[in-house]
């Protein structure tokens, strides 16, 4: 049976009263290693998309380069898999031109905090409405185990075989130091309920929502988060009505800190304290200006544009 494109579309739309399920967003089969934390993040994202009933064609995932940046290929939304470190400028361009689209940015730790560091800082300042996920496994995986800025000091890698030389960069402190940053959170892929709740809060926040997702690499850094995975007492949850509250994990993660995400000084304190790994929304301020709103212009028809351009030419007329 042959149908025109338009008819096919009508048929598909007829069924569209049915809600999107998680499987509506399934793209190609994920090719990450077995045990890679990225699988769980992909699932949490699909759960978020279904929960928010995001229209697949109105949703764009933008990534850079690295293991995590394969993300868009595994989703059935629009995707743009670009170059190393530069996912944020591409995301900014999409959102500036098409503010009606939901735009997600997926980066790794090297992508975001090393080669793309300038864009990371400025994206936080632009505060364009993007949901930004930084999948932090503290190592370069795709290029086979090189030190990244978030690699813990002393970790042996192929580029620093006698142990990495410098203390690891703290992406939360850096993000919280950026003027006009409006949402900074941390979660961990081995706490799926918290991961999902945090991503959902990030999506619902209007502005650049920066989420650092602690993520295990079973091949190159299996030990980095191992003790925190085994011992929940090493983790403290930041809880608040304006942040995330995940009742189903409260019995496991007994250290809970009531933290108002409007309190920037406290957010910086928790970001810098290294006694525990803090998960939750560190900072959230929905009142910060959003660049794409500040720069919004009224669209003009070709005729309107030409009328105004004639006026411009009048100024230069001989």
């Amino acid at each position: 049976m042959s149908l025109s494109c338009e008819l096919l579309h009508v048929i598909q739309r007829k069924g569209s009263d049915e809600p999107y399920g998680m499987d509506s967003y399934e793209g190609a089969r994920a090719r990450w290693c077995a045990g890679c934390g990225d699988h769980g993040i992909l699932t949490a994202v699909q759960r978020l998309l279904a929960a928010e009933q995001l229209v697949p064609e109105q949703t764009v995932f933008v990534s850079g380069i690295g293991c995590s940046s394969r993300f868009p290929h595994y989703l059935k939304t629009y995707g743009f898999h670009g170059i190393h470190g530069r996912a944020l400028p591409v995301s900014t361009g999409i959102k500036l031109h098409r503010p009606e689209l939901s735009v997600f940015t997926v980066m790794g730790d090297g992508d975001c905090t090393s080669i793309g560091a300038a864009h990371w800082i400025h994206a936080l300042r632009y505060n364009v409405d993007l949901t930004v996920m930084m999948l932090d496994n503290a190592i370069y995986g795709l290029t086979k185990k090189q030190t990244s800025p978030t690699t813990p000091q002393g970790t042996v890698s192929n580029t620093q075989p006698r142990g990495s030389y410098l203390p690891a960069m703290n992406p939360l402190s850096v993000s919280l130091g950026v003027t006009n940053a409006s949402f900074v959170a941390q979660t961990a892929e081995w706490v799926p309920a918290h991961l999902y709740a945090t991503l959902r809060a990030a999506y619902q926040h209007k502005g650049t929502s920066f989420v650092r997702i602690l993520q295990r690499c079973p091949v190159f850094t299996p030990e980095i988060f191992a003790s925190a995975v085994r011992d929940p007492s090493q983790i403290a949850l930041l809880v608040h009505d304006d942040g995330v509250i995940v009742p189903e994990i409260e019995k496991i993660y007994k250290t809970q800190i009531h933290h108002d995400p409007r309190d920037l000084a406290a957010a910086r304190h928790y970001a810098e304290s290294d006694d525990r790994i803090h998960l939750g929304v560190f900072f959230r301020d929905p009142s910060r200006p959003r660049y794409e709103e500040t720069r919004r212009t009224t669209p003009r028809t070709p005729t309107e544009r030409n009328t105004r351009l004639e006026e411009e030419f009048d100024k230069y007329a001989v």
Binding site: E57, R86, H97, F313
Partner: protein
Amino acid sequence: MTISAGTTSAVAPQTGAPPAHLRVREHTIEIVSDSGEGAQKCGQIFAAVSAKMGNGIWTVEIIPAEVQPPPRVPEGASGNRIRVGAGPVTNWGDQTDLVVAFNEQALLARHRVGALAPDAILLIEEMWATSQDPAIVAAWEAAMEELSTREYRIIPVPMQEQCLTLVENPRKGKNMFALGMLAYIYDRDMERIRDQIATAFRKKSEAVYDSNVSLVNLGYQWAQEHIGFRIDVPPAPIDTPLVVMNGNEAIGMGAIAAGFELCAMYPITPATSVSHYLSEVFERFGGVVHQAEDEIAAAGVAIGASYAGKVALTITSGPGLALKTEFLGLAIMTETPLVVVDVQRGGPSTGLPTKVEQSDLLAALFGQPGDAPHVIVAPATIEECFHVMITARRIAETFRAVVMVLTDANLATGVAPYPRPTLDSQWQAAPIDLAPVGDSDLPYAWEEETGLSRRIVPGQPGGMFTLTGLSHDERSKVAYSSGIHQHSSAMRSRKLAVLQSVLTPPVVYGDEEGGDLLVVGWGSTKGAIEEAVDRVRADGLKVSSLHLRFLSPLEPGIKAILQRFTKVVAVEINYSDDPDAPYITEENRRRGQMAMLLRSSTLVDVDSWTRVPGEPLRPGSIVTAIRERVLSGGAA
């Protein structure tokens, strides 16, 4: 009152006597001062009025490297140079015939770079000769000594003294006094001058306008009483509506006419003034100028916007183009349409930030690692700077291509009139198509014959593909099998051949049938090359020229044209080894950039004559090169 240092009767004070009239086809005038004394404003108004009266003009800026250089140093010379012609003027010409200088050091700067004709008339502020500061007097005297080595005609002018009769701070008024003098000498229409002053100072007060007009009148009156000559460059009546602007403004207006809605940029000389212009007006057209955090991000934002909708624009100069390189490869690989304007300056590295050069051609063409076919087009005139934006956007959209537009500092800052465009709504980008995508539609549905494919943008139901910079097949699946990369590379490359097939062959200027020499150029040198060709043809030499707009793909039929001439020389503003320089052989000689392209694509033995003087080529220099070097067999 007036002392004539290099006295000639033509400029001796002739109060009361009728002034001598010099009638010429063209004259080149400079106004030079310290930075901030308004010489440029004077020059701009003089040029605009001349254009409105029906003279051809070509204006170039004389710009110091620093924002506020120290006063009274040659490096600080700032101002304008205006070539005024009885007919159309296509380039800045050779040497300056008349200068108004606000101090002798600015004048010295122009003398030392050889800008002045041997018999140039120099009107110079005389206050420095009688300064209280002995160092200034000594500098003045040394300068006069140096200038006296030529046959200049020097006319000291009491600008300061005269301006003080009207204003307290002549530093802010001499430019209008100078404008008045020029208005007398060249018999400019005072009504138009007043209109132009009103336009130039429209944001300021009535008092500023009145004061400026009084100063112009004073300068006019002083010249009438003390300058014994007038110069007549007859204007021609204007039969078609003209606009007058520089090339960067033309690009900005072209971007609007083409329907661009986003221009992402990072400040860089000499490209930034496009963004200054657009920043001022673009929002009224529904457009946004995004100043990104760096050149790379500017490219990324433009690519993101293009991917999601209408073709976007990024504007830069050589160093910025280098930074954007990886992103340009991504746009080419994902077939995301994009227009990149490169306003070329001298390089490499920081090079000559404010000066013209045509050195980015090969970097623009081959800068991206991997095989990255894309389009390069170079407007040759200020008028073409406007129209190229419409062409570039349309090609980018139709061919899902990156289109680079190469202009240069000469076009960017040169000011000349051109026929006012008749705007057409069809020039503008169509609204993005959000129609659903059919089951058989693919993100790269390459047509085997042409490599062309339809673009799918976010928002189209059914088209949820992920574009990638990885090598991919027509479904955008990552290429894991052999053959995919070969085929997709062919598809991206074939688009250029298809584009070439719809271009028209370039037209020879001179003799289509052939001759002894063909001069080939590209970009802003067109006017100077064709003027040089006119001059040598007038002397009977069988010389023609060919000017290329498309550098990638090259326009069709070039080889056949080149083969009709005994010799072919590419004239460019980039570096090449002179054939008789030490160690230089036929094999190791580095030729000009377009010469290399033409040699490789036509197998014609194209010679190269190039210069990198940090200024536009002078037609006279090209004439000399044609005569002495090329035709006498100085080069292969």
